[in-house]
Structures are given as structure tokens and as C-alpha cells.
Amino acid sequence: MVVGVAVGLLVQLTGVTFVGLAPVVMAVIVFLITYTGWTLAVEGRRHATDRFATALIYSAATLALVPLIWILVTVVVQGITVLSPQFLFVDTMRNVNPRAAGGGVAHAVVGTIQQVGIATLISVPIGLLTAIYLSEYGRGRLARSINFFVDVMTGIPSIVAGMFIYTFWILTLGFPQSGLAAGLALTILMVPVVVRSAEEMLRIVPSELREGALALGIPKYRVIMKVVLPTAISGIITGVMLAIARVTGETAPLLLTTFLAQDINWNAFSDSQASLPTFIWDQIARGTQSSLDRAWAGALTLILIVLVFYATARILAARYAPKER
């Protein structure tokens, strides 16, 4: 058994180093046939089936690792050449010829921080209050339907969120394209994520804490504010960070609500504002080698921001989680 799996892993690893897909697939198929045939001869049909399934499941798990590693390595290798403090914090794309090297993402970093900041400022209070309603008050049909539709909302395509803000905020209310509109679109994507994670955290606060405080005659809303929320706060912050990581990389809603800009726009309330995802989109569309280099450097910047948020949140969550299943 152990030998078989070791051989399987070895075959797969040597296959992966070819990078091309065909040798890997071939190696796995050859291994599956010989391995299953061998156990069939030695151990019989039931065990051969078991070994075959085991090998398939191991292959699936190995296969699942490939895309992430491949993408991360590519982005780092490609992005590192252009990336510099100058590129990140000083230079913009104003007056930069697409064919020329140089330029930077400072304008996009400003835009991304403002837009995601706006989304966070709006969605954290709404999301937290909804989560409190669901976990502390909600009983009956209204709570059930909010619960259900929050889940459904996590699956709304991001471009639909952008489209809604365009029809509602820009077409109907007549506000201009702006970083604020982009922030509102991100809010729609962020609220359900915040609600779901905050509610989960509130639910695992032991009810003895609530009952103890209530027995002392403290009003329920103060129990929630002073006992339940502080107990769950680390988990809630984790959830918010995951939500931020999720919306920071969104491109589609920004294209409909704020579009592209080449220079720093500090004012999120009017005119187009750049952002990291739309910066990458724009640079890919220009199609020259130097713009592609900039796209990769932008991609590295974006993925670093997202992964730092994501990894910190997950590590915090693992550390403060009350119990592991």
C-alpha cells in the first residue's frame, strides 16, 4: 500500500516537472493501469477497486494543488521585474506611452484603497447588524428568508452587482461615475460575506454568557454590545478581512461604475478613478510588451494585497477558533 502510493506520487511528481499536460496525464494513466492490474492479481477484485479509487482520489488532490502553485509562481516571476517602490507609490500612467517602459500603479493603489474602504465602511455596519438580528433575535419566517437570501446573494455574479449600481445610482439617481459608485457595487458583494461569517461567530458565543448577563438584569441590547460582540470580535474581524480579500480583486463591477483613469484622482465622489484590477485590464488591452510587464507587476501587487488579507484572516481564524471539527 505505502509503496504503491509512493510510486504513484513519484510518477506524478516527475510528470509535473515536465509542465506540459500530456506527460502528466500519460504517467497517471500508466500508473493507474499497472497498479490496479497488479493488486487485482495479488489481492483480488475488491482490493483492486479500493486501490484504484484511492489512486484516483490521490490524483485529484494532487491535481487540485497545481493551478494555485503555477499561478503564484508565474505572477511572482513575471511581476517582480518591474515592481519597485517607485512603481507602487509614486508613478502613475499619466503621459506614459503604452510602448514605453516606466509608469506605475500609484493612481490604482489610491483608487483601490478608497473604493474598498468605502465598501468596508458601509457593509460592516449593515452586515454586522443583520448578523446580530439573525443570531440574537431572528425567529420565524422573516429570519428564515433573510438567512436564505443572504446565502443566495453570495452567488450573485459580480457584473450584475455593477450593473445594478449603474442602473440605480448613475442612471436613475443621476450621480456621476465615481469611486463611490464602485464602492457601492463592491458593498453588494461584500455584505452577504460579512453577514455569513459574523453570524457564524455570534452563534458560537456560549449561551451561558448571555444568560449570566441577562440574569444580572442587564438589558438585552447591552448584553449583545458588551458581552456577545466582544467575545466574538476576533472572529468577526477575520470574516471582514476575508470579505475585503474577496472584493479587492473584483474587476467587472468597477468597469461599469467607474471605468478607467490614468492619473491619481483623490476624490472618490466624482469622475473616474483607477483601481488595480482595472489597471491590469487596461494594460492587457494595450497589448505591448511594456504594458504587459506593467500588467504583471500590477497583478503581483494585487495578489500580494489579497493574499496578505486572506492568509492573515485564515491564520487568525485557526488560532482563535473555539473548536476544530
Partner: protein
């Protein structure tokens, strides 16, 4: 309207602070529902102009000329492309996702399981624009030989045949990239479902001498079937609405083409992203109409999937 369900633990009297706080939180919850309703309402409302002056049949016309005079457009091509790319993605992602979930829940040592789960979830955090950039410049060159192989040896199957002898920017490649993007969703939900299988069933089957695979086939899979179906559907919901990666990878030809190795294909979301900038008023209204269709399709898919998951959750309170 009875918003006030009885509180869990009843106090002696309702204090004004309590009442206001409760109204406040209820209001936030209702606001979330209202936003969902508003999305539907505004998309329908703003797509009416383009729907009214469309001279082509919206369901059968295979052109996209909403800004022409007279406007002529249909969504058949877009719906076909959206569903076809998603189907390819599902056939690739569902087996791998479920296999990974099985490995994490039943095979891996605890520490490896946690790390692998983390890595697969991390894939969900990679922005779609990066999937698109990488897919276009690094993944595509690697997959083209495979596409050639498929059309050479399996070309007698109509979907693999290739009349152009061009293999880039195809539905197959978009399907592969989409599969990677929905893999974390499928895997995470399946894992959750596998955890809910009663430990008693698993231990009983092993005690009766079942091999590990027999245990999975007889105790785990029957119990988890509805959950796995909804995991696949939630993945489908994500694939249907994915925009930027598809927009970058497909060559966005506006025609119905089953041949997955040829350049071509399109999707509702990708079409919106690509056409939005150049569209005039009626063009945008038509794009909003397609967005409305996408919204309702994903809404139905997600609602069905969630309904199944939630029903299952109620049953297995034991774990």
C-alpha cells in the same frame, strides 16, 4: 406584518433601548432583502427600452446590433456560450473537487488535510483578472497541444472536430480556467457535506469489513448525494457569472459553435464587459437585458442549490 417574534429569553419588561436596537437590526436584515428585490426591479426596468425597440427576435436572432437602426439583437448565442463554457468547466471541476474533498475528509492525515484545504480555498482568493492574464499567456500555450491531440484522435466526435486548425482562445481553454475557479467552491461545499455523514455509518461499514472505497461508496456517497449535487450547482452558479477571465480568454465570436477546440465562444457576462465601453444608450439597455437574464438564471441555480443544502442541514442535527 408580524416582525416581532418572541425573544429567546423574556425580560420583565421591554426597555426602549431594547426595542430600538431590535428594530435597528431587523431593519438591516430587511434592507438586505430589499437590495435583492431592487436589483431585480432595476434590471427589469432599465432593460425595457431595448426590449421594446428590438426588431429581431430576442430568442432566435444571432446578431448583436442593438445600436444599429433598426436595433437587432438576440441572446441565443450568449446563453448558449454561457451554458456551454460552464458545462465544460463542471465536467472538469466536479470530479476533481469531490475527489479532493474525499481525500481531505477520509484519507489525509489531519495536518495535511488542513493545509490542503487551506491551499484549495486560497485558489478562491485569486482575482479573476489574474486567472485571465495567466490563462491567456501561460496556460493557453500549454493546453494547445492537448487540444490538438483531442481533435486529431477524437475529431470524429463533433464537439472535438476542428475545421480551422486553430486551437487558441477556445471554449475548451475557457472551460479549463473556469474549472480552476470553481474548484474551491465545489470542494469546500462537498467537504462540508461529507463531514455531516454520521460517524456511526462510517464506523459500522468499516467494522463489517468494507474497504475504504466500499465505505465511501455505500455509507458516504448515498448520504451526501443531494449535498454533492448542490455543491456542483453552486459551482455552476459561479461559472455562469464569471466575467473577466472568460472575456480575456475567449475570442468572443458572436455565433453558436459546439466545437470546443476552435477559437470562438462568448458568454453573457463577458459580452457585457467587452461591449459596455463602446455601447450607446440602447446598447447598454440591451446589455442590461442580458444581465437581467444572467441574474435570474444564477438566482434560480443558487436558490435550488441552497434549498437542497439547507434541507440536508436540518436532517443531520446529530453532528
Amino acid at each position: 406584518m408580524n416582525l416581532m417574534a418572541p425573544p429567546l429569553i423574556t425580560g420583565t419588561s421591554v426597555r426602549p433601548g431594547d426595542r430600538n436596537f431590535r428594530l435597528f437590526t431587523t431593519g438591516a436584515g430587511v434592507a438586505v432583502l430589499a437590495v435583492l428585490a431592487a436589483i431585480a426591479a432595476f434590471l427589469v426596468w432599465k432593460s425595457i427600452p431595448a426590449l421594446q425597440n428590438n426588431t429581431g427576435n430576442i430568442f432566435t436572432n444571432e446578431q448583436w446590433l442593438p445600436d444599429a437602426d433598426p436595433p437587432q439583437w438576440g441572446i441565443a448565442v450568449l446563453i448558449f456560450g454561457t451554458i456551454w463554457t460552464s458545462v465544460i468547466a463542471m465536467t472538469l471541476a466536479v470530479p476533481v473537487g469531490i475527489g479532493t474533498a474525499l481525500y481531505i475528509t477520509f484519507y489525509a492525515p489531519r495536518r495535511i488535510a488542513r493545509t490542503l484545504g487551506f491551499i484549495v480555498d486560497l485558489l478562491a482568493a485569486v482575482p479573476s483578472i489574474i486567472f485571465g492574464l495567466w490563462g491567456l499567456y501561460y496556460f493557453m500555450p500549454e493546453i494547445v497541444p492537448t487540444a490538438q491531440w483531442l481533435s486529431t484522435y477524437l475529431g470524429w466526435l463533433p464537439i472535438f472536430s476542428n475545421d480551422l486548425d486553430l486551437y487558441t482562445k477556445s471554449i475548451l481553454i475557457a472551460g479549463f480556467v473556469l474549472a480552476m475557479m470553481i474548484l474551491p467552491t465545489v470542494s469546500a461545499i462537498s467537504r462540508e457535506v461529507f463531514w455531516q455523514v454520521p460517524k456511526g455509518h462510517i464506523e459500522a461499514s468499516l467494522a463489517l469489513g468494507a474497504t475504504r472505497w466500499e465505505m465511501i461508496r455505500m455509507a458516504v456517497l448515498p448520504f451526501s448525494k443531494p449535498g454533492m449535487i448542490s455543491a456542483a450547482m453552486l459551482g455552476l452558479g459561479r461559472a455562469l457569472g464569471e466575467t473577466i477571465a472568460v472575456a480575456l480568454i475567449l475570442s468572443a465570436v458572436f455565433e453558436i459553435n459546439w466545437q470546443i477546440t476552435e477559437p470562438g465562444g462568448n458568454s453573457i457576462a463577458a459580452n457585457i464587459a467587452l461591449k459596455w465601453g463602446e455601447a450607446a444608450d440602447n446598447g447598454r439597455s440591451a446589455l442590461i437585458a442580458t444581465g437581467m437574464v444572467l441574474f435570474f438564471i444564477t438566482l434560480v441555480v443558487n436558490m435550488t442549490a441552497r434549498w437542497v443544502v439547507n434541507r440536508r442541514r436540518d436532517f443531520s442535527g446529530a453532528n
